[in-house]
Structure formats: structure tokens, C-alpha cells
Amino acid sequence: MALQARYEDVPLETKQHLFDQVKADARFDSYLYGCYECGICVAACPSARFYDFSPRKIAQAAGRQDLPMFYEQLNDDIWNCSQCFSCTRCPRGNNPGGLITIMREVAINNGLSSAKHALEGYGRVVYKIMSTGTQVSPDMLQPNAFPDWGPHVQEISDNLELWRRALPPDTLHTTSTAWEVDDRTLTELYLIWHMTGVLDMIKSVDMGLHMILNDVMEELLDEAGYTAD
């Protein structure tokens, strides 16, 4: 299929509407100053080596307001980015990786099916961070989750509780969170998610996850006497 042809049926107004949201973001102006088409960002970009992906094209489409190309990138490209920010080597001062951060947020906010697809299998990570304030918990180290890391993962998983007790820092004796976070801190975090609209973002991509998170949070917020408004 010719480039962008698969999105020909999507009305231009829809593409414009999404582009306008990206452009209206407060970060946009400091992430794009124009583009020399020099390709330095592409040379530095890890994702460009393994995917059909180019930070130069991201900067170009945004700079020229090329709506068909922008829309294609919004659906097919942005989730390939590694968010390493090697592209900040740009001699023009651009931050194509930062443009992608904004584009991803717009894709999530608008519930694009490509965004839902990109987050498949990722819900537990979102849940872990939002509900515990930490990620990469020790009990994530399960052989079925990391088969390519070898038998070593099985060994950790078999010894997890014991090995965690063999850590001198008091805060690290946990298995389901990376360290011990107190309840009051979690309550404060939940209030942040409520007050900044992050829970609404989750609602647009994963209703089930939104319901679970809401249940967990409301109870703790109520107990602490907060109303989330």
C-alpha cells in the first residue's frame, strides 16, 4: 500500500484536530525550531537502525504541518521510539524524541486504536506505577516473563523472599514493590493522579484498568479524608 494510503479515508479535519493538540502543548515550541534535514538525529537514533523509523521525518512532518504524514506517524511510528533522546544532538536544537512524547500523549488522550494496541500487555506496568508509586518490582522477575534472560531468572524467583531479606537497607525487604512506600505517600500520589487528569487518560485507553485503579485509590483517599476534585 502506498505511503499514507491506508489512512486516506480518515478526514483531514480529524488529522488537523490531532495535530492542533500536539502543537498546542506547552512543550512543543521548545522541541522544534525548524529542521536542516541534516539527518544527524537519524544517525544517532537507535530505533532508526532496527525499524522503518526516522526522527528527521518526525521533525519534518511537524515543521511542515504535513497532516497525512503526521497522522501516519501518530499511528505507525511513535511507539518505535526508545525515548533515549540521542536525537537532542540536533544542531538546530530540536528534540524529536520530545515531539514523540507529546504525540504519544495525544494518541492516548484520543483513544486511538493504535495506542491501545501499543499498550497491550503493558497494563500491569501502568497499574503498578500508579498504585504503588514504583515499578520494576522484584516479583516481576518470573521465568515466563523473561524467558530470554535464561535460567538465572528462575533462580531469583525461587529465592526471592530470602534474597530480599539478605539486603542490608531496611527499605528493600519488599517483593511486590521496589522499596517500601508508606500509605500516606501513596494517598498523596493518588490525589495527584486525580487532580491532573491522568485517571481520565487511562479511561480513554483501558476501561478495565481505570475501574481497578479507581477502586484502589478511592478507598485510600476516603480513609485519609480527601475528596478528589
Binding site: 526508545s82 525515548q83 542490608p168 537497607p169 531496611d170 487532580m195
Partner: protein, 397 residues
């Protein structure tokens, strides 16, 4: 084809190392203090004593020696706990005061860089809640994770330049009952390790002159808000960040160069969890194999969470393809701790690492068999419930 190192060296010799006479970027710290003068927020001062280090464009950055509030890292604490343990051990070994808080959340940037299920306001509020907690404790934030460090610097820029964002986050902090406070400096633990490297060298017990090291500079340390990272004219002619490399040199080991030093590790956030084929390929083909071919290191040292995990764990599957892998990976904090006599299992916790590290320990002069036997005895005591946890006293027994 790898770039011949002689070409790089010749270019380096020919380069003007002095850098621009005037820094090309504003000094955001001046704006931070201006906002304090206007009553917009408090500024938490770097406590005395501090050490002055040089950043990319020649400015001085203050690194606190002690009274630090440890903003821990998810990936370090969760999957490579010898990383955080070694940082604390180094501080304790120097007899310095620190705070390992429970009222700390992560920066939550996993939901920003990986899944975009957050936004600017939420991220800034999470940062300022943590800074507020540090301020209340009277200790100064020291950030363990490279991503949290880079992200908080982005957040600082955003807050400084947007009154609207400041208002939104101030409202949230008010509701939480937290002070609205920005630290005078945003400090990464590897900057502290860099600043203290001569103190470590004084207390070193191992001869590392036979150890060759390749260094992976962490992307979110030196590519986000680049002007705030540490550079030193004596390290790579000031053309690359000096953290980690300067520590290796101070400890008497040998920094070996390789051509893909600027490349990321392949972590990718979402990739390491749901598109790991990319992560494995990048880590082995663009980093480990290039290091092996060009430098043949005994160990790879880095200073961030995802880099240790990616470079270490990715090597296992690559063995099935007969790739040139098999180099142990750890943080410079673990390496420095080992150099100062830390236990490889009680402190550096190397049993959580994947790639074979025992030949390295032997080369460093560490009897890993004996140390493992000691650790197994510890585990037996913990199993028998004679003890609930291993303590700091046990770690140095």
C-alpha cells in the same frame, strides 16, 4: 565497520578543547533563585560542605557531601539491589549522614517515556511532592536513577518557564500540605561518586591496574538538559561526560575506548518489556560486541538502572547465536565498593546479575568461592529465622 580508533584520537588531538567562551544556554539556577525572590517557591540550598564540579559549558555545580535524601530507583532496588546497596555502603564507609526515605515515590516516568499515560502536570507534581518530602526531612535530594534525574531537570525547566504549570502544581502541593520547593541543584548519585572518587581511592584495598573497563554513559544523564552534566577537560578532552570514567581512572583501572559510546543501550522503556527483540539486538550488536572487538574489556561500567539491566540481561540469548558476548556489567558504585573491600554478595549482590562475573572477581583479587560460602551461611541463618534480615553490621563482618 567500526571507526578506527586512531581517527578518533587524531581528531581529539586536533580539537579545540576550550569550548565556547560564553555558555550557549541560560543558567536555569538563576531563574530558580529569581522565582524564590518573587516568593513563588522556596529553594532548598545544597548543605555544607559541598564540592564544586564543572558542567558542560564550564559552570560550577555544587555536589553535597552528606545529609543526602536518597531518591531511589525502581529498577535498581527491584532487580539489581546491589546497586542501591553499594551507594549506601559507600556513604556509610565514609561515615556520612544520609536518609533512606519511605515517603518517596519513583519519578513515575515509566508512564511518561514508555506508555505516555501521564502528562506534564502530573509529572511535575510527582517531582515537587518528592522535593517537598526531602525538604521536610532537612536532607538534600540525591537521585539514583538517570531517568529520574534527567526528567526532573526537564520538569525544572518547564516549571521555570511556565507560570501556569507552577500554579497547577502549587495548588496540588497546597492540597497535599507539602511545601512548594525546588532544590538549588538537581544531583545524580554518579555526580557524588565522581566528586568523592579520591576519597574512595584513599580507602581502596584492591589493585585494579590489570582491569580494563568500557564505560557506557547513560542517555538520560547526558542527553537530557545537556548543559547540567559533568564534563572535565582532563577526561576525553572535555568532549564526553566525565562521570564514571574519572572514577575508573581514580581507582587505577584502565578506561578503554570504543566507537559506539554515544549509542544508547537499547533499553527503550516499552521495548525492554514488550519488544525485547529490539533491546537484545541493539544491546549486543551495537554495544557489547563493539566493545569486545575494539576494547576487549573485563567489565562494562555504567551509571544508570536500565543500562545495567539491558546490557547484562541481553547477553544470555545472544549466546545462542554465537555472538561475541560474555562481559559482566555493573554500576561504578558497585565497582568502587568492591575496590574498597565490599562483600561481592552481601553488598554488591552480584548474584542478581546474569552475565558471568566470577572471572572478573578473580582478576580483581576477590575469592568469590569463600565469599559465596559466607553468603550461603547468611542465607541459612535467615532461613532458620535466627535472623530476620541481613544488617549493615553483617555486611561488613
Amino acid at each position: 565497520m567500526p571507526i578506527p580508533l586512531t581517527v578518533l584520537e587524531n581528531r581529539r588531538d586536533a580539537r579545540d578543547d576550550r569550548g565556547p567562551a560564553t555558555p550557549p544556554t541560560e543558567d536555569v539556577r538563576e531563574r530558580v533563585f529569581e522565582l524564590e525572590a518573587k516568593g513563588e517557591w522556596l529553594v532548598q540550598r545544597v548543605p555544607d560542605p559541598w564540592i564544586g564540579v564543572t558542567t558542560k559549558y564550564g559552570r560550577t555545580k555544587k555536589i553535597p557531601v552528606a545529609r543526602t535524601w536518597h531518591h531511589k530507583s525502581c529498577g535498581q532496588c527491584g532487580h539489581i539491589p546491589g546497586y542501591s546497596t553499594s551507594i549506601f555502603w559507600l556513604i556509610r564507609k565514609l561515615g556520612l549522614d544520609y536518609n533512606d526515605p519511605k515517603d518517596q515515590t519513583s519519578c513515575t516516568a515509566w508512564n511518561y517515556y514508555a506508555s505516555a499515560t501521564s502528562n506534564q502536570g502530573a509529572q511535575a507534581a510527582v517531582a515537587m511532592r518528592n522535593f517537598g518530602a526531602a525538604y521536610e526531612s532537612g536532607y538534600f535530594p540525591m537521585i539514583h536513577c538517570g531517568t529520574s534525574y534527567g526528567h526532573y531537570k526537564e520538569v525544572r525547566e518547564e516549571l521555570v518557564h511556565s507560570a501556569e504549570l507552577r500554579d497547577e502544581v502549587r495548588r496540588i502541593c497546597d492540597k497535599l500540605g507539602k511545601p512548594f520547593v525546588m532544590p538549588e541543584e538537581i544531583v545524580h548519585y554518579s555526580e557524588w561518586v565522581y566528586a568523592m572518587r579520591d576519597e574512595f581511592a584513599k580507602r581502596q584495598v584492591l589493585d585494579l591496574s590489570g582491569i580494563d573497563v568500557t564505560v557506557h554513559p547513560a542517555c538520560h544523564y547526558h542527553k537530557l538538559v545537556v548543559e547540567d552534566a559533568i564534563y572535565d577537560p582532563d577526561v576525553y578532552g572535555g568532549q564526553r561526560t566525565a562521570v564514571v570514567s574519572a572514577v575508573v581512572t581514580a581507582l587505577g583501572a584502565n578506561v578503554k575506548d570504543y566507537s559506539t559510546w554515544f549509542d544508547c543501550c537499547g533499553f527503550g522503556f516499552r521495548h525492554i518489556l514488550v519488544q525485547r527483540d529490539f533491546t537484545r539486538s541493539f544491546a549486543t550488536l551495537r554495544k557489547i560486541e563493539v566493545m569486545q572487538e575494539e576494547a576487549n574489556p573485563d567489565v562494562v561500567l555504567t551509571h544508570d538502572t536500565g543500562c545495567v539491566t539491558t546490557l547484562d540481561q541481553s547477553q544470555f540469548a545472544a549466546r545462542a547465536h554465537d555472538r561475541k558476548v560474555g562481559v559482566p556489567v555493573m554500576s561504578e558504585a558497585q565497582f568502587a565498593a568492591l575496590a574498597m573491600g565490599a562483600h561481592p554478595y552481601r553488598v554488591a549482590q552480584l548474584h542478581w546479575h546474569n552475565t558471568e562475573y566470577r572471572p572478573l572477581l578473580e582478576k580483581m583479587g576477590i575469592d568469590w568461592r569463600e565469599r559465596w560460602r559466607e553468603f550461603e551461611d547468611d542465607l541459612e541463618r535467615l532461613k532458620g529465622n535466627d535472623k530476620t534480615f541481613l544488617t549493615w553490621e553483617d555486611a561488613d563482618a
